[in-house]
Symmetry: C2
Subunit: 220 residues, 2 copies
């Protein structure tokens, strides 16, 4: 009664238990408290979240659509496990799309937002005992920035979805890679700030290739 109907749509979203479950499970997976390949037992997880199985299943269904969980034997849900092959394939598709997105975005990103992301990266480099989580958030912020400003929201959505896949692999298998990432991210930022489309394309392509090389070298 005292609240407007849809006002707070950007922030909280606690309103119903499905959404709560959705966010909670996503968080559990990203925080590795649910490991890749692990079978999800509905009743147990529902109890753990203090909800019934119905909204939990609803959340799992949505998460399946988003690629975080899969139906294992046709019966139970399992946390999605991304192997090296799928990771590299996803990266390859990103390598096709993201340089294009960056190129399209060059010249269309407010300078202040670029400055904010740059500041975030710098503060992460300075911090001694940095948080892996914060690093990934920063990574998200940069990539989201130029993908969103590419002017093609469909393109941005596709990349977002691919990044869910690659992120799942990275949190499970890849050690922290803050140093080269930061350098390459700064190179991308520089090109975007200079509004140089070709340079931005090259910088992003170089970045993604570098990630792939790192993965191949790291994972045995």
């Amino acid at each position: 009664m005292t609240e407007a109907p849809g006002d707070w749509s950007a922030g909280g979203r606690t309103e119903n238990l499905s959404n709560l479950a959705y966010k909670s499970v996503a968080e559990l997976i990203r925080g590795r408290r649910l490991r890749g390949g692990e079978t999800i037992v509905e009743s147990r997880l529902a109890d753990q979240l203090n909800i019934s199985r119905t909204p939990l299943r609803e959340a799992l269904q949505r998460l399946e659509g988003e690629g975080l969980v899969v139906k294992g034997n046709g019966r139970s849900f399992k946390v999605r496990h991304v192997d090296l092959g799928e990771y590299l394939q996803s990266l390859r598709v990103r390598e096709i799309l993201e340089p294009e997105a960056a190129s399209m975005a060059a010249g269309h990103i407010p300078l202040q937002q670029l400055a904010e992301v740059r500041a975030e990266i710098n503060s992460l480099r300075d911090a001694t005992g940095y948080h892996t989580d914060a690093h990934w958030r920063s990574d998200d912020n940069l990539h989201e920035l130029f993908n969103r400003h590419s002017g093609n929201e469909v393109l941005a959505g596709v990349v977002r979805s691919l990044r869910v896949t690659t992120r799942l692999f990275e949190i499970a298998r890849l050690a922290d890679r803050v140093e080269p990432d930061s350098a390459e991210h700064l190179a991308i930022l520089e090109a975007l700030e200079a509004e140089d489309a070709k340079a931005a394309r090259r910088a992003v392509q170089n970045h993604i290739r570098s990630i792939g090389d790192f993965a191949i070298a790291t994972v045995r």
Copy 2:
């Protein structure tokens, strides 16, 4: 006992009501018996399919993940409506990915499968009172052929999903376009049969651009 556990995964899939609902609703949408933008009333649709709301909701959830329905006001499901802008954006992403896929596939597609698709196209051109449905299926078959054989299953999946979006628009807004499609499809086939990667890339790019031009010209 007499059946192996997961053998028939490709074919039937009737076994449970969720899957039945999933396929039924997808069919209803593709057959325009549920129109774009239309609100889905769970109980009515559930009755219509002779199942309860639970498996229907499950199906709708999955369909949402696949992009055929969306949650309208946060409350009800609606059949997804793709407007011209989103259609063109999706087409633009396909224009980036599919020529690449065709190029990667050239030389890796069994000639017999190419011949089958060619035969299908020819039989459609000859048929006097052809079926729109059959035309769409043929379209699917050709595109699926080179996307699947690109060697990158992730790429193929992304394109599949984009094609769901573009198809939704096409069935709602575009008149039959069998003639130019057939010609362009045959050009693609020719390049693929010649195992000429560059020609295949060009043919696919030309095809997708042509579709976009047609859409712009047709839709007012």
